[in-house]
């Protein structure tokens, strides 16, 4: 049961900043990987593909630390957000899996490479619903 202290408030910008760095690196990596394989070697492409991971790991660690230091009410909000997001993620993946068996889904639209973005969106939807419930 803790509230945000002034030092925590000052650190409040760190998590969004690291998240922004991760997003920039992710889209930068995607843009570079769109170039033909001949432009730079396989090793360089792998390095580019993995470049966003440290920033994402840092972002995740900051998020987890934020939840751990939150008060019991805020932790309840995050728990309810997960309770919405997790079943929705299962529903999406199960539906895509079944549809893939029924018809040919376009890889460019519905592969894991594109569908993952829905998972954080489900989490933010859950956060919005939980915050609205307790507002």
């Amino acid at each position: 049961m803790t509230s945000s202290t002034p030092s925590q408030s000052r650190r409040g910008w760190v998590t969004p900043a690291v998240g922004a760095i991760w997003i920039l690196l992710y889209f930068g990596a995607r843009a570079l990987l769109e170039k033909p394989p001949g432009e730079f070697g396989t090793a360089a492409r792998v390095v580019v593909a993995l470049a966003p991971i440290p920033a994402f790991a840092a972002f995740l660690w900051l998020l987890i630390r934020g939840v751990r230091s939150a008060d019991e009410f805020e932790r309840r909000i995050h728990l309810e957000a997960l309770a919405v997001a997790y079943p929705l993620a299962i529903l999406l993946l199960m539906t895509l899996g079944l549809l893939q068996r029924a018809i040919e889904l376009k890889f460019e639209d519905w592969s894991y490479a594109h569908v993952w973005i829905y998972l954080p969106l489900f989490y933010f939807l859950g956060l919005a619903l939980a915050r609205r419930r307790y507002a």
Binding site: M1, S3, E72
Partner: protein, 69 residues
């Protein structure tokens, strides 16, 4: 569960943020508790009771269940 938190807080001219700071929770948590949308944990309920100098059951109480009469 209902509570007298809002009344007790108003008697002391504390804002929700003031109360939150005193017991280590956010203003939003105090709002949710006061409106009965969120039931605090036992440790938080005891902290609030100690802060107001009253027994927990004087601050938090179950809503009367109707008998159907």
């Amino acid at each position: 569960m209902r509570n007298r938190l809002k009344v007790l807080r108003a008697e002391r001219n504390w804002s929700q943020s003031d109360l939150g700071e005193r017991v280590g929770v956010s203003r939003q948590a105090v709002t949710a508790i006061e409106t009965g949308k969120y039931d605090p944990s036992l440790p938080l309920a005891f902290k609030l009771a100690r802060l107001f100098g009253q027994p927990v059951e004087e601050i938090f109480f179950l809503e009367e269940v109707g008998t159907g009469e």
